[in-house]
Symmetry: C2
Subunit: 791 residues, 2 copies
């Protein structure tokens, strides 16, 4: 299997094994390394027992490679599943994610309520079932789960045995050591329809996103939601950029301004859109319900003084002290990657523009080779460092851990992606004339090498053309074009083709290795052989990591924000690329990855900060590039000292302040816009209010209270009657008591509003009548039991 | 009365009229201008009727000045008050401000619930009663209120008749035209104890704030809460500043850094503290419950598509277009106030440092006179403009209106407070030598004036000492000292003494005016005469506006943040000033203002933005001042061209980026700190969760679910049993159905975990045993109705 045409080609729809998941919730791919057979066997027994005690039915089948087992799990009883879903929905309600609580389990009489009607009204979606099943598998045993997590979980692989203080934890670690992966089975019928649909349309719509969300969960759906918004927004800079390219050319401040404005609008729009999508999907606020990180190490347990709950404590200040390691880490990244990039950059300039000796045609590729070999190596090492660092920071929740990791990865990506362009724009072009002569160190090196290899014959040819050196002012443009076109294509190939080839090779190698040995799969029962074959194939696939896709998009956004003023067609290139990208990402999920666990999420998370940062930095680099390159500053005879530093800095400061102002304004405007999510929220709040009022005030009054214009008017319609009646009642009461206090008498002088009016009018008359006479003005003549005072 | 010693001197405690408010909720001071007598009389009748129909008992007495009435109101029935409070608490619950809803009015049987026990458990505080009473007075009649608001309400005075489109609205406007003020009566016993207590202690504590909150509402309490935090925080820069002044001197980057850091820490701390106070006071989130602005003009009414409610709509884009007027407004402020300040500044320099002609001793005061006369005039005009502009922007809620107004006022305050210092620091000192010669225009003016007045005799004396002109580099220091010491004292005098004198004079003038006319107050009933005398006095007091006090503190914070690097003792001066300030503000509320209406609030509102802005700007001005003045750049022979602009700009950019980074770090750290408010919130949430779980799962299970370590473990203890039972039940079911589907057979091969283990172990054995034989590996030998496959 494993090829696209096998799964999605003609006739695939008729293959029963592709349309039937055998009621399996999850498959656990369990390794049996021959050298650790006994250990693995013990762990296997533990896993099965843990699954059973967590409430799963299990079936075991051999893996495809004679060194692994496939453990099929399904939640054994409908009752357990419902209890889990009930609990999860109740928690959602308590955190304000749902507006309605599920019905109480026991009604007033103490009789169990029948839940069939509740679950018929709010059915359990596939994503909900799978998510809760996975939580049940992965939760610690003390909390009722099976405590099984794949060994490759982010952060788990890094010496989990050292992590936990107790024996229990290392026990769990031993159990999970052989769990290669835990994955649900693909719904190939859905995938087939999905890919077919997307390949024929230009834009994704809300229904497409909803479909993804129902199958793969909100976290994946958010990625495609982001892609969709970003793609739609790219249309504008693509069109504008095209005309700018035709009419204005490069380095135009008009383009820079429009582009900066666009990036701010997009960023602010997405912040709103994100909330909107979360509300529409009913997951707004789920990031509050944090998944605990199993690898979290606590320093001590303590009783919460307020709630009496036992809480695990790790000093935030200790964590902060570890977080400060990020500063040396960032500096190390800059130093390590920076020096590699500067080295390659220098060699490249030396080779292409100065060197004229032997092997020039080969040596020109030296920097590319160096970069291709060393950059992934160094990046890998630094990423590993970043992971270790994040582990040391010891976060309590998955989200915090992920965010901290992404932050570090962003530093690495920033340097590898943007430093070469920044070097060209702000070092090579302005200061090339001054700096390039120092590249003569390479001359000495080539000299010596040439001497060592072939005697001193070629020395004369290595003469550097120092006198003729001209800064190649087109290098910046060439570099930006290459990064925004070539690099995107290369990326696509790496992402789409390499895993496919890798798997093919791997499979072939496996077949050769096991040739001659009896094939375990030959003993599969015929009615499930095709199904097992398919599952074995899915077990070999990679786990889909959405953050890699986010990273790619964020880096791309950075090119657009930071450097597109160099080449206004950038957005056109990205527009085309992203159409393909969305489809190839869909393909990646459907064909070359295991089906992702449908996690929820209410945001693109830490990437949002990165987008904001790049949008801000774009305002600065664009201003600086426009200032430096706008006219022919760098003619053949330019000197770096021609640049007016104060003007450059002033334009940067100006651009930055404008950026902040514009952002505040755009934020304000975007907040005013109505949206489906807001409408939904309003509707829910209204329904909640109506229900609460109906419960508290009774149906009739609630209806009245909610009707327009009378909000808050309860019990007021009869106010006049109340006043009169109340005053009279009070008067009677006072008459009984004896009425000796002045404050009691005070309120009895005028009985009811008509008397107040009367007294007031007489007072007014008196004011204007200067010859005042003794009219009654605050007494009254009616017969009341209170002492009436005649003045 | 009206003097402090009368109310709070010895013996005051024994005066009954000061300790008894006669059960009055509110007093409405109603004007009867002799010229509009008939109109006023009609309005008076309307007001009384409106009050009665809103549920108030009223008593009318003459005002003190023969041209006004005092309308005493109290909520007539306890039932109405309770209905209002019930409604308000229910609304708080619906908006998430309270965690518990008040009990339903009717229980399941439809019988009215007795609320006495509820109100005994959660008694009605004085602030709550007064707030709801005021809402009842001010709410529109359509919503059950009396629709009475004082004519001086922010925004109401500005042509309310033009405001509303309908007749009803202008009717209400006519009614309110004569309402001078609506105020509750002071609790003098409390005030006396309050002032006495505060005058003997250095720091305010939580109990002091709580007492203020219970009497004057959260909005006023927040001001004192802010004062308290600010005062405590000032201790650090005061001590540090003192030592910096001794050891480091002026213009030190060390001081600037520490001061900037302090301002960031204070700002971030306050943001947290604010939330904390709001949570402690149970008002966190009340800013969501927006008070509608009666002056709001809607364009059309429409049915909300979602809720079906009728909503009043005013296009936000139209509002935005009016909001854009803020830009020309700000420019106008800069132009008008700026040119006045520059003019006075120039005259001052000319007079003190250049001019040597006749009348120098008098002319030196010319700029001070000009500023004293013209600045309040222009500020008044611009404030009026700001108010008009805010009215045009037509906000729906009081809070939005207030925030927009404060924003504009801040622009005016910024210019009047800081522009003079900014001019000295960044124009006069660096460029004085170049610019001052242009002041010769004044020579021409003085020349002409001198000539006009006394012939051409004195012309020789007006010779400007141009050659000798030296920039007075101490001017900046002198100016900062004068603004931070002298100006604070002047402010205090204006705030504390002027209103007192004004009232004395006003009272004397009144007495003279009405001399000879019969005194209306002579007819007061003897047992209430002293009380009425006191109320008449309170009616003449000003309305307390907390935003004036905030403004003063924010401007002060600005001096500290922006300029204290010039004179490190600034904070010492402010420390002393603020001790007095807090007491004089208390005095202002207790003695020289009407008792404020106890509004709620959950923040210091728009001033927070101003604080953040000043803290940010401080990083820039401090860096610039340090750079410009740090060494003796401005010696006698300096030229402005000695300043390296690029270095100045670079230090500004650097300082700004450092500021943003530090702020992010401080924000993160402060967020980690625990606080009483957070603890309270956690406790409430825990109680809510416990209650919800108890209701849904029953007491026992809830207890279990909340106990440590078992969160989420419902129904799992019996999982093993479930699995087995479920599988067997399923098997029986399938046997009946006939078992033709492979997925049914799939799950029946291994019955229970023990069989899975067995099969797995045999598979593992098989993997390592290369000479494979046909062991049973996924069948079983027990008698099941499923077809057992032997391989």
């Amino acid at each position: 299997m494993a090829t696209i045409s096998d799964i999605y080609g003609p006739g695939a729809a008729d293959k029963p094994e592709l349309n039937n998941n055998f009621h399996v919730d999850y498959v656990i791919h369990f390794l049996i390394p021959p050298k650790e057979r006994d250990e693995a066997e013990a762990a296997f027994i533990q896993v099965i027992q843990a699954l059973a005690s967590a409430g799963f039915a299990t079936e075991v089948r051999p893996g495809g490679d004679r060194a692994s087992l496939l453990i099929f799990c399904k939640i054994a009883s409908e009752k357990l599943l419902r209890a889990q879903i009930y609990r999860s929905r109740l928690q959602d309600y308590l955190y304000g994610i749902r507006t309605t609580a599920p019905p109480s389990r026991k009604n007033q009489g103490g009789v169990e309520v029948d839940y069939n009607s509740y679950f018929a009204d709010e059915p359990v979606s596939e994503a909900e079932r799978l998510r809760l099943a996975y939580l049940l598998i992965s939760k610690p045993r003390a909390e009722g789960g099976a405590g099984i997590t794949p060994k490759g979980t982010l952060g788990a692989s890094a010496s989990p045995a050292k992590g936990g203080p107790g024996a229990r934890q290392s026990n769990v670690a031993a159990q999970n050591k052989f769990v290669a992966s835990i994955f649900p089975l693909h719904d190939h019928a859905f995938n087939r329809a999905w890919l077919r649909k997307w390949s024929t349309k230009y834009m994704l719509d809300a229904a497409d996103l909803d479909a993804i969300r129902d199958k793969f969960g909100e976290r994946v759906a958010f990625y495609f939601g982001f892609m969709q918004s970003y793609f739609s927004f790219l249309l504008f800079p693509a069109v504008f950029g095209f005309f700018a390219w035709l009419a204005i050319g490069q380095f135009s401040w008009v383009y820079a301004t429009v582009n900066g404005l666009w990036s701010v609008v997009f960023f602010e729009y997405w912040k709103k859109r994100e909330v909107d999508l979360a509300v529409q999907w009913g997951v707004h606020g789920v990031s509050q319900i944090q998944l605990p990180r199993p690898q979290f190490r606590f320093e001590r347990e303590a009783k919460d003084p307020v709630t009496g709950e036992t809480v695990k404590i790790y000093s935030p200040f200790r964590r902060l002290s570890y977080q400060l390691l990020q500063v040396p880490f960032a500096l190390a990244c800059v130093a390590v990657l920076g020096s590699l990039i500067i080295l390659c950059f220098s060699i490249e300039i030396f080779m292409t523009e100065l060197y004229n000796g032997p092997f020039k045609q080969y040596l020109t590729f030296l920097p590319t080779v160096l970069l291709t070999v060393l950059l992934p190596l160094l990046t890998g090492i630094l990423t590993n460092f970043a992971e270790q660092l994040t582990n040391i920071e010891n976060y309590e929740t998955q989200d915090d851990h992920q965010a901290a990791f992404v932050q570090k990865i962003f530093v690495i990506n920033f340097i590898t992606s943007y430093l070469p362009v920044l070097l060209t724009a702000f070092v090579y072009v302005p200061f090339g004339k001054v700096l390039v002569p120092y590249l003569n160190v390479f001359q000495a090196v080539t000299h010596r090498l040439a001497g060592a290899h072939k005697g001193s014959a070629a020395t004369d040819h290595t003469a550097i053309q120092k006198a003729n050196f001209q800064v190649n002012t087109h290098r910046l443009t060439q570099q930006v074009i290459s990064l925004t076109v070539t690099a995107q294509i290369v990326n696509f190939l790496i992402e789409a083709v390499v895993p496919y080839v890798k798997r093919k090779v791997f499979k072939a190698a496996e077949e050769i290795a096991y040739r001659g040995q009896s094939d375990v799969t030959a003993k599969d029962a015929p009615e499930e052989a095709a199904f097992l074959e398919r599952v074995r194939d899915e077990a070999t696939l990679a786990v889909y990591d959405v953050s890699i896709d986010y990273r790619e998009m964020v880096v791309q956004f950075g090119y657009l924000s930071l450097f597109s003023v160099v080449w206004p067609l950038t957005a056109c290139s990205f527009l085309v690329n992203n159409w393909v990208e969305a489809r190839s990402d869909a393909m990646k999920i459907a064909v070359s990855s295991q089906r992702p666990i449908p996690w929820r999420g209410d945001s693109i998370g830490p990437w949002l900060t990165s987008l904001g940062f790049l949008s801000w930095l774009g305002s600065i680099t664009s201003a600086a590039i426009v200032y430096l390159f706008r006219s022919n500053t760098f003619g053949p005879d330019h000197s770096p000292w021609d640049i007016k530093a104060w003007a450059l800095l002033l334009s940067i400061i100006f651009a930055e302040q404008v950026y902040h102002t514009v952002r505040a304004v755009v934020h304000y405007v975007v907040a005013k816009l109505d949206s489906p999510g807001l409408q939904k929220e309003r509707a829910e709040r209204f329904a909640l209010r109506k229900r609460a009022l109906a419960e508290s005030l009774g149906e009739d009054e609630a209806e009245k209270a909610l009707s327009p214009g009378v909000t808050g008017g309860v019990g007021v319609t009869n106010a006049e009657k109340i006043t009169r009646a109340a005053v009279e009642a009070e008067a009677r009461e006072l008459a009984v008591k004896g009425l000796d206090k002045p404050e009691d008498i005070f309120w009895l002088r005028q009985r009811g509003p008509s008397e107040s009016v009367q007294v007031g009018r007489s007072l007014i008359a008196e004011f204007t009548d200067t010859s005042s006479n003794n009219t009654i003005h605050n007494g009254n003549t009616t017969t009341v039991p209170a002492p009436v005072k005649e003045l």
